[in-house]
Each structure stands twice: as structure tokens, then as C-alpha cells.
Amino acid sequence: MNLHLQWTWFHRLGSPRWFYQKTQRWLPWLSFIMLSLLVAGLVWGLAYAPPDAKQGNSFRIIYVHVPASVVALAGYYLMAIAGAVGLIWRIKLSYMLMRSAAPIGAALTFIALVTGAIWGKPTWGAYWVWDARITSMLILLFLYIGVMALRHTYSSHEAADKASAILGLVGMVNVPIIYKSVDWWQTLHQPATIKFTGAPSMHPDMFMPLVVMIVGFYAFYAVSLILFTRAEILRREYRASWVKQLVTDKLAEK
């Protein structure tokens, strides 16, 4: 009895309808938090943070580049864990989250790569360097694209979800191995010519806006994930009576 009570929240969480209605209320708040963090972080980072001693103003791209990379990597784990939850408890909603997480993560990885290339030109004199982190991000992009592409192999949603979840899990085991391998490979082939300023050694005046931007990007990720998932819920549940009701209500409003 007690056990049953404890787990009801978990099952309610798995209901697409519950998610859709709850997020309706969360979204304005989350969007407000996201916007204020991003605006504050950008203005602080781009206008008020002091220029870097060596790189001058070009270092300021860090305020987009680092948050995008951090969230892209975390997003892969979120996607894989959502897939695992779907496989284990057969929760429809978590498959929908997984599916929505893939394109967002791929886009963030892409942003991280592009901003990295733009940053690389003034800093290292080349758009592309086979640095360990860049290479790992490139592989991460391929992993994301793989999860997105695998869907089209299957004709049914259910099988496609499970296959993507399995691939996500295989990838999750591999991501640390890939990161370590690439690190090792890089130290083998190139002397450490490229040194990033590690976070703790950054001056707080530069570091604090970065923290604000990272939190802001997480909020942005949450908002996009919710929006994508809501669209996915409507797409998949269009036969459900509550979705039909929703559509008739919307039409009546007009």
C-alpha cells in the first residue's frame, strides 16, 4: 500500500497528458528565467567582463562556446537515460523526451563546433585543429546524428523508440571510452600546444558570467526540450480524447 502510494507520482509523471498540462504552467516561468539569465550573462560577459590578457576580446566567444559544449554533452546522457527509463519501465513519455533530446543535442554540439572553429582562427591561427576536445565533440555529433537517423529504419514508433534507446545506451557506455581514447591519442601525437584556460584559473570577473551563461543554457535546454516534447506528444497522441478536446477548444477560441 505504502509502496504503491510512493510510486504514484512516478507513474503520473509518465502520463503525456499530465506532462502537457503541467508544462503549460511551467513554461512561462522557465522562459522568463532562461531569458533573464541569457540576457544578463551575455551583457555581463560581452560588455563588462575584462578582456583576456593574451586573447583580448576574442575570448568572449567562450560565453557561447563553453555553455553549448557542456549542455550538449550533458544532453547525451539525458537522452540515453531517458531511453533507458523507457526500456525498463515502458514509459511512453520518456521515449518522447529521448526523441526530442536528440535534435536539440545535435544542434548544440554543432554550435559548439562552429563557435570553436571561429574562436580557433584568431587563437591558434586555424579554423580546425585535431585537438582532443574538438575531436570528441565531432564524434558526439556523429553519435547524435546516428540516434536521429536510426528512427527511419523502423516503421513503428515503438520499435524505433526501443532501437534508439539501445543505441543511446551503447553510446553512453562508449562516450567515456571515446573521450579517454581521444585524450590519450592527442597526447601521443601532439605536444600540448593548446592549453585552455582552466575554469578555476579564470578570474572571477570572467568566470561568473560564464556560470550565469551555463545555467542559462541549461534553462534554454529545458525550455526547448519541453517545447519539442509537447509537439511530439500532440503528434503521437492525436487520437486521444484530451488532444481532440484541446484542438476543438483552440479552434473555438478563434
Binding site: 523502423y154 516503421s155 520499435a159 526501443k162 551503447v170 562508449n174 581514447s181 581521444v182
Partner: protein
């Protein structure tokens, strides 16, 4: 309760080897590919022994990856077409050992011949003699990992039968094997200790043997239903 793990390894190993030997063209294709592309490399780059020797560890490993990728696509698709995959999936148990049997057969027919052929490529590319043994060992271990990971991709893409999608899924996962495989040869060429990267390859193999069959089992069951 029936033992989940027992049985099927040697039966599937024997069956797949027999099928392979009777369809020799499928067996020979990846090997010919391996040799042909190796012959193209000096033509495309330069026939200078020094430069080729520098590139050899990387090229040999890239070719091994491509040859495995070419052949792994067929691992389950023939079985799907002639219905024997469905027979295999009728079993309510995890198919760990049948799957490992099939992959062992694949390695014996693709990975092992590639490994045995590699000294020839080594001679073509003027690879130093000290690097031959490390090359053979790294290919022997590494191609087994490639077969296992490739089989995961082949199982997941079974409904559409692989192609570019299979390459897309599998290539990122091949990256660590490629790095440590070519590093083994490179370390031997440079006179460094080559047992360390080889040991890591062996560790990859141990992890892959333990985990890949689980994913393959799940993927095959999906492919049958989806």
C-alpha cells in the same frame, strides 16, 4: 528454469562457418577489398618507402575497419531473409551464446584472414620488421572488437539493411579501437613499449564480449517485430 546461457555457441559457429565456406565469394570479397585499396595507397600518395612506412599503421587500420564494416552488414540479413533468424528468435532465452557463435565465425572468416594477410601489406608499405608482430596481435584483438561492435549496428539497422546508416552508427564507436590499434603499431615502429595500447585493446575486447551480445539480442528481437 532453463539455464539462460547454455547452448548454441558451437552449433552456430559451425553452421556459419559451413555457410561461409560454401559461399566463398562473400568470404573473399572483404579480403580482396583490403588488398586492392592497399595497392591504391602507394599510387595515390608516393612510392617512397619512408613516407609509406610512416603512414602504414594508420592505413592498415583504416582498411581493417572498412573491410569489417563491409562484411558485418551480412551478418544477420541473410538469416533474416531465409527465415532462420526467426527460428533462432523463437527461443525465449537470451541468445548470448548463439550470437557469440555467429560473431566468432565472422571473426574467423574476416578478422583472422585480414590479420594473416597484414604482413603482406606490411611488406608493401615497408613497415619495419619490429612492428610486424605488434601489428598481427593488434589486428587479431582489434578486428574481434570491430566484429562485435559492428554486429550491434547490423542488428539495429536490420530492417533497412545497413548501408550508410550502419557506417554512421558504428564509426564513432570504432574510434577507440582505431586509435589504440594504430597506436600499437606506431609505438613498435617508434621503439616504444607497445604492450600498453595492446592491453587496452584486450580490455576493449573483454568489455565488448560482455556487453555487445546484450544489445544485439535486444536489437534482433526488435528487428523481427518492427
Amino acid at each position: 528454469m532453463y539455464n539462460y546461457l547454455s547452448g548454441g555457441f558451437s552449433a552456430y559457429l559451425y553452421r556459419d562457418l559451413l555457410l561461409g565456406i560454401r559461399n566463398k565469394t562473400d568470404l573473399v570479397k572483404p579480403l580482396i577489398f583490403f588488398l586492392l585499396i592497399s595497392a591504391l595507397v602507394p599510387l595515390a600518395i608516393a612510392p617512397e618507402a619512408e613516407r609509406l612506412a610512416q603512414l602504414a599503421p594508420g592505413i592498415i587500420w583504416i582498411l581493417a575497419v572498412l573491410a569489417t564494416l563491409l562484411s558485418v552488414e551480412r551478418l544477420f540479413s541473410d538469416d533474416l531473409q531465409d527465415g532462420s533468424l526467426e527460428q533462432m528468435l523463437l527461443s525465449p532465452n537470451m541468445l548470448i551464446l548463439p550470437i557469440l557463435g555467429k560473431i566468432a565465425a565472422h571473426w574467423l572468416m574476416i578478422g583472422l584472414p585480414l590479420t594473416l594477410l597484414s604482413p603482406l601489406i606490411g611488406i608493401w608499405f615497408s613497415l619495419p620488421v619490429v612492428a610486424v608482430i605488434p601489428m598481427i596481435l593488434s589486428l587479431a584483438l582489434g578486428t574481434a572488437v570491430l566484429s562485435l561492435i559492428g554486429a550491434v549496428g547490423a542488428a539495429l539497422t536490420l530492417p533497412r539493411q545497413g548501408g550508410v546508416l550502419l557506417a554512421l552508427l558504428v564509426m564513432p564507436l570504432y574510434m577507440p579501437v582505431l586509435i589504440f590499434g594504430s597506436a600499437t603499431i606506431q609505438s613498435a615502429v617508434d621503439g616504444l613499449d607497445w604492450t600498453a595500447p595492446l592491453a587496452i585493446l584486450a580490455a576493449f575486447l573483454a568489455i565488448a564480449i560482455a556487453l555487445c551480445p546484450l544489445a544485439i539480442n535486444a536489437g534482433l528481437r526488435l528487428a523481427k517485430n518492427g
